[in-house]
Symmetry: C2
Subunit: 237 residues, 2 copies
DNA sequence: GTATGTCGAACGAACGTTCGTTCTAATTCA
DNA sequence: TGAATTAGAACGAACGTTCGTTCGACATAC
């Protein structure tokens, strides 16, 4: 099915199949789908909140049903299983994260600025979707089989995208650094993925200040000197 | 009860109470305790392995019993409950980590060297006790009530110890840095606690090289320049 | 216009399984 | 013998999932 995530469309499998062209499926061609999607999103959001609160294993389908205001059996009209439900949550988030970053990177060429962008993008998405990103960070191994492989593939793309930026930063500004690029990348992911354990946007520094410090620390850490500061307003958009 | 962890002794509560002096507790004064402790450790190690493998909620007491080669009911002679068992695992690890670091810090005065020591100590403990530290990093919220509060208190001590080092690094080498000390500290913990997700000592760089890179990146990150390198061999032990 | 048929959506109830924990009786060891 | 410790059966509770049914909106037939 086509589900809107942020601004991009991604293919997501749900229970509904579209082997037949959906032309004459409904009299009101969009109203039926709207109902379906609205309810799907409501359940997914409820599930995300519950899983973020108590963890995947402790989160029961009954809790999700209560939080979503839906019957227990009603949930199974949208997912085959609890595991597929978790898969959808993670898949949607990782896709949004990945596609959002890809799009933004087109407007920036310098690798240092790209890395700042990556950190800012990740932090902002985290602040806007705390529960979802907590589920993504904490329940990485709760899937198995094909579902796990599929999320792993997306995470791998996100890693490769970030790793490429870091490689270019090294190449351009510290080509002779002995630092292991993989270790450096995972340190950055560690700092970012650990956010869900401690960062509260309502109590701490603003997301932008936080992102700036993380990015600056990381860049100084691998380059050994203060990297060029953010150039005053970017060239005409 | 007194249980040996690494080289230090820590107070740990288990099922056995010592309201009575343990003098005449057993005919063989040390052999009985040895049996008890050996079996306790065997069960704890088995539980650590199982929980690290499948997670706390999915880890059943039956799995632990099988892994330890003990009957299901037999486990409950050593713990009141599954939660107390997890508590003991975390409590022992955090205590070992904390006391190990405290002891080592006595031999070093410069805060930069102290921080390198902290990273090396943490990394080495991780490599030597991968399953335990995975359980400590991943199951932080699986406890509740008093057990949670108690582990939180130890973690707080570990944070304070590290935070103090970082504060002194700033004070001595970059007193005017606008960086938030708390954010800096949590970035370091993020990089360290994320290790269990990706680092395999058998496949990647050696623990010492890894620790060096993490420490150097962090120090450069907050100081903006390469910090003084490790002084050649330490003074006579 | 009304009755009939169809289909997806949603429901409460129940299924079989597994969980943490407890009970009881047998066994072990000094 | 007697105290300590075991294994295995059994408990109630909670789990994910399925079942048979009902509801309501729309299409068709008369």
């Amino acid at each position: 099915m086509n589900t809107t995530i942020g601004t991009e469309m991604v293919q997501i499998e749900s229970k509904r199949t579209f082997d037949q062209p959906p032309a004459a499926a409904q009299t009101a061609p969009n109203e039926g789908r709207g109902d379906f999607d609205a309810r799907l999103n409501r359940i997914l959001n409820a599930a995300t909140a519950v899983i973020a609160r108590v963890g995947y294993e402790k989160a029961s389908m009954r809790m999700v049903a209560k939080e979503a205001g839906v019957s227990l059996a009603g949930i199974y009209h949208y997912f085959d299983s609890k595991e597929k439900m978790l898969f959808l949550i993670q898949f949607r988030s990782f896709n949004a994260l990945l596609n959002g970053l890809r799009e933004k990177l087109h407007h920036v060429a310098d690798p240092v600025e790209q890395l700042r962008l990556m950190v800012r993008s990740h932090t902002n998405y985290f602040v806007a979707n705390m529960a979802a990103l907590k589920v993504c960070s904490h329940e990485l191994d709760s899937l198995s089989g094909d579902a796990y492989a599929e999320t792993l593939a997306i995470r791998r793309q996100y890693y490769d995208l970030t790793r490429g930026i870091i490689d270019r930063v090294f190449e351009k500004y510290a080509p002779n650094s002995p630092a292991d690029r993989h270790v450096a990348t995972m340190c950055l992911f560690g700092a970012l993925n650990w956010l869900y354990r401690w960062y509260d946007p309502k109590r701490g520094r603003s997301p932008n200040v936080l992102a700036n410090q993380i990015a600056t620390q990381f860049l100084q850490g691998i380059l050994g000197v203060s990297p060029p500061e953010e150039p005053s307003p970017p060239p005409p958009a």
